[in-house]
Assembly symmetry: C2
Homo-oligomer: 338 residues x 2
């Protein structure tokens, strides 16, 4: 049985949506959920839902890191915030994984400062699953490290490769570097150095990819600068809404379009669901010494439940142990070469 | 009468598409077009089209910079390439503007090295028009300068402000900085420094914008790091195709969807056209001492004709003189403050 600490106060619709998500997860997963946050509020929400007996407990945490707060300052000042208590439970072995839809920077800071990094890892990275024309890809980093060194990007590739094999069931994941041209010589010094490290590695590196390849499924693992990845992530999240708004503007102008749109609506709805980040539920914060899943601030109950499920898979498939093994292997490989 | 030198050999479908575009422009614009490239090939293409008498001439240039060539090396080695000859015509006063759909890096390098920069400008930037939910915005830089300093970003904002007023008819354009969060403290050192310069300027700066705001029309001028801008540009170009492919996959599964899609097709086609980069035709290379428009490598004849029209507007509305005036004004403003 896996024990998941869920940040009950994290997210735009917390605690309501988070508690509903935990309740939903309890009906489908045979694991233990610890809801962390203001006890009264959480218990009052819990009473609204059907919870499978004994699978959800509540741990009191009086403080909340708000979405707009400066992450490092907030987690230092608010020792008893829900995110800090979640991470503490993990550190003390009272939980196996953490799921939070709260302030992303605070989750990264709390995890990095309190749990530390996996042996050999220099920086943590946030990975997201990207729905592409060819299935699911993984992009890393999307904002944990906005000023990376070449070695950080290389380690992100190693971690993404492990995750894609363990969780996305890819046999030998292809890795691409998000750059401004396909040639090895393209891009900033950071990109050229990272290219060399990836090219000389044992990863299945296919070279640079460009912005147009982000959703095409050209590779299984997209390695990117965290600044660029964050801009892309937020852009991706807005696309379906933008296209829908554009379509609506057209459709109201013409009754024929209205009929056509009504007939097509289920197809559009299917696409919306399949491309929704809510399906994946949580973005793994890879590289920290513990399993931490970060969900979108606007997460629905379904997104929270999916994040809990993803956390369980990460634990059951031993993602972190595999990352440590790979990183130690690549370091020995490097030593042999020198 | 404005004289436009058009790179007859630049682009994926050159010279055919470029010549067709020039012919199209000649029927609607009362200006002179000089097609630059391999004379025989271009004349042979020209014979296929109806050209309004005397408006198109041909200037021979035997060499071609290919799309995959390393820009600076190619323009230095191929002195008689069509792009070099175009820029020479501009420099010698035999043309007023250049339009090219060829190798972007080569166009930037040829223009920067041969024409130099406008007085006070530190780096050139490529601006593109972005179709948003609120109309047209301008994004700068999308790839001329992938390692910018804060001052470069500031100057891009000044140039975009001038262009948006002169060409996009915006009265007091709003300016946003593409960053990873709205707060002033967000992002890299580059972003924080650029934020300060923009905040303290006389521009209508609205602060940081995020990836989700790129197509929302939150601001008229989007200032970005050229690396990020290039990734976003190429991503934008791929979106409509990606969504279309996703829709097709769904639609073939169900006859009702097929009927609905057939009814809606004109609406989708309208969106495709309105969001197509071809409508804008060309991206101005701002900051060089001359008017240079860079078109997409895959430009259609219509895109080329639109780029010629945009070049004419830039000349007629004195964009470069206005940029020089603004930059000199901001420099005096800076001096006064110190």
């Amino acid at each position: 049985m896996v024990r998941i600490a869920v940040d009950g106060m994290g997210g735009d619709y917390a605690p309501q949506m988070v508690v509903e998500g935990a309740a939903l997860a309890s009906t489908t997963l045979d694991h233990e959920i610890i809801l962390v946050g203001r006890e009264e509020q959480i218990k009052s929400e819990l009473r609204k839902h059907k919870v499978v007996g004994g699978r959800i407990s509540v741990r009191h945490a009086p403080d909340v890191v708000e979405m707009h707060e400066s992450p490092v300052a907030a987690i230092k000042r608010k020792k008893d915030s829900s995110i800090n208590v979640c991470i503490d439970l993990l550190k003390q072995g009272q939980a196996d994984a953490v799921v939070t839809a709260g302030n992303t920077g605070a989750a990264v800071a709390a995890a990095t400062l309190n749990l530390g990094l996996l042996a050999g890892i220099k920086r943590p990275g946030i990975a997201i699953t990207v729905p592409t024309l060819q299935g699911i890809s993984l992009a890393i980093d999307v904002g944990a490290n906005i000023d990376p060194a070449p070695e950080h990007l290389y380690q992100y590739a190693v971690m993404a490769d492990v995750y894609a094999r363990a969780i996305l069931n890819k046999r030998r994941p292809t890795v691409g570097l998000l750059n401004i041209g396909e040639e090895e010589s393209k891009g900033t010094d950071l990109m050229r150095e990272a290219y060399k490290l990836l090219r000389d590695s044992e990863l299945n590196f296919i070279g640079n990819i460009e912005g147009r390849d982000f959703l095409s499924g050209k590779c299984d693992c997209i390695v990117c600068d965290g600044f660029v990845g964050n801009v892309m992530l937020k852009f991706c999240e807005s696309i379906v809404e933008t296209i829908t708004k554009l379509l609506r503007k057209k459709i109201v102008l013409n009754p024929v379009f209205k009929v056509g749109a009504a007939l097509c609506k289920p197809a559009l709805e299917q696409i919306r669901c399949e491309t929704s980040y809510e399906e994946a539920g949580g973005a793994p914060l890879l590289g920290v010494n513990g399993t931490v899943l970060i969900s979108h601030g606007g997460s629905s109950a379904r997104a929270i439940a999916n994040a809990v499920a993803a956390a369980v898979s990460s634990i059951e498939r031993g993602v972190n142990a595999k990352i440590v093994k790979e990183i130690s292997g690549t370091q020995q490989h490097e030593l042999k070469k020198t």
